[in-house]
């Protein structure tokens, strides 16, 4: 797909990550797909006690959502704080994060690894969720194609996806692509402060 865009603009590094760690700099791609979970994992309390080290499980959680559940000799998860990264599952298979019905894929865009022209950039969230539709994921393909086409039509020669979006503004990216902006797009993980728009000078 990247070839069609390359003719008028620049290359597109299209990458796919099987989990939120986004190994291999997938998190700095022009367009990337990342698989994610969307529900708090159920805890098999009986197995937790047998096969997991409880302090390790508690400390594995980046949002401190996991605390001891002494009555059950297990742990409990604060549903408000859990963002389904699956790090607890990595250290404790009894907290099985897999859920075929609610696991899915997000699309992130605008990343860049090198310092050619502009500094390296992280990819940012474009579409928060698609259901998992093997073997061809037609909705994801259509969404990527849409983004690529809008980019190819609007970017200047040599402009990477992220450079194009930085020039026109993210509000314009959402308008041109017709992608809906949701609560998921607003950073509420740890770095909200730097992402908020501190000026009324934006585009309609």
């Amino acid at each position: 797909m990247s070839t069609c865009a390359a003719q008028s603009t620049n290359k597109v590094r299209l990458a796919v990550a099987c989990c939120v760690n986004m190994c291999g700099a997938v998190h700095c791609s022009d367009i990337a797909l990342v698989a994610l979970h969307t529900k708090v994992p159920p805890i098999d309390h009986e197995r937790v006690g047998k096969i997991c080290e409880i302090p390790t499980v508690i400390s594995s959680c980046p949002t401190r959502a996991i605390s001891p559940d002494p009555a059950k000799k297990s742990v409990k998860i604060n549903e408000e704080k859990c963002m389904y990264c699956g790090n607890c599952f990595t250290v404790c298979p009894a907290i099985d994060i897999h859920n075929p019905e609610s696991d899915g894929v997000a699309i992130v865009v605008g990343g860049k690894i090198g310092s050619l022209r502009s500094a390296p950039k992280f990819s940012k969230l474009a579409i928060p969720f698609f259901y998992n539709e093997p073997p061809r994921w037609p909705k994801i393909i259509a969404a990527v194609k849409n983004i690529l086409e809008v980019y190819a039509k609007n970017a200047r020669k040599h402009e990477r996806v992220g450079e194009w979006i930085d020039r026109i503004g993210w509000e314009k990216f959402f308008k041109l692509t017709g992608i809906e902006f949701t609560f998921q797009h607003i950073d509420d993980f740890t770095f909200m402060r730097e992402t908020m728009r501190t000026t009324p000078a934006f585009k309609w």
Binding site: V20, T63, M83, A106, L125, F129, G169, K172, H185, R197
Partner: protein, 402 residues
Amino acid sequence: MSKKKHETPMLDELKKGPWPSFVKEIEKAAVKSETANDTLGQVEKSYRTRRGYWKHGGIVGVLGYGGGVIGRYTSLPEEFPGVKFFHTVRINQPSGWFYTSKALREICDIWDKYGSGLTNIHGSTGDLVLLGTNTESLEAIFAEYSSRGWDLGGSGSAMRTPSCCLGPARCEWSNINTLEINYQLTQEFQDELHRPAFPYKFKIKTSGCAVDCVASIARADLSIIGTWRGKIQIDQSEVQNYAKKGMNINAEIVNMCPTQCITYDGKEMKIDDAECSRCMHCIAKMTKALRPSGERGATLLMGSKAPIVVGSLLSWVIVPFIKLEPPYKELKELIRKMIEWWDENSKPRERIGEVIEIKGMRSFLEYIGVPPSPAQVKWPRKDPFIFFKDEDFEKVFKKGKY
């Protein structure tokens, strides 16, 4: 009445030169006021010893009001008895700071009677500030000012005195009636202003355009900034007049436009309005040639504060566009909801911007009934750690709204 009590060799240095001198002004007040006289002495001592001697705290006020007066004292009452008390009185300024000279005389005459005669017109809050009086005089001061139609401003954990730019009264750039909005909000929130019951201070400032002359984005919990939805109308003959008078339109206007949406070929100026971010640069520099058109209203931004305690914030966009017309019902209701949410979610002494940061934009936006918008962010989230609610799947993702 009182002659100069203190030698002030260091302050005397600051009377030299062609500029206004605060020392000369305080000396004038000191002729009539023991408080001003001892102020001079204490400031000289501060210059000499390189430290301050003011302390604040201790609630002072007038009957029926919880705020408006800020208690201030010297830590050296024996050395400077005139400033044993040096309370600050905030007077609610009129919208846009318009006074008749008669009104100013009236304010000063009353102040000469009860206070040091020193004023701060205007304080950072926007209020007209009277500097230096004692606790005993407060009721009399309040009685006299209020009998002439003046009122105290806000202080403490309360709605602070709203303030606004001078807006349509003096400026052709204003997109909203800042003066009327400010007046209406001041009336609407009288109770919240005078009887502190908030987790912390709450400031509202209103500017007519993005130039934001009242610095609302730098220091108001709610920043109301006038704007428009429509084209910038261009008077080409006036454009030519600017060029004739020596303006380098390409260097000063076209190249400095942050969105690069203007072109000028020496004859005609064109603006790609879809790309315009309404930053006011071209309009401010070529006011006679350029003028917004279409619907007028405001962008609401929230959350700014000064560095103490955990760092400064600038206000950010909450409501990209809101119509603002009398009786401003939607705005008033929205502000009440904002305050309600803050009240329910805040610890003591947390500003609303800090609480939104802690609880997240979603909780706040859902409560006040404002949808998410790309105008609220510079860019979307980076890390793929995303919170979902069950209803999101029903409302958004199952419907394929993307």
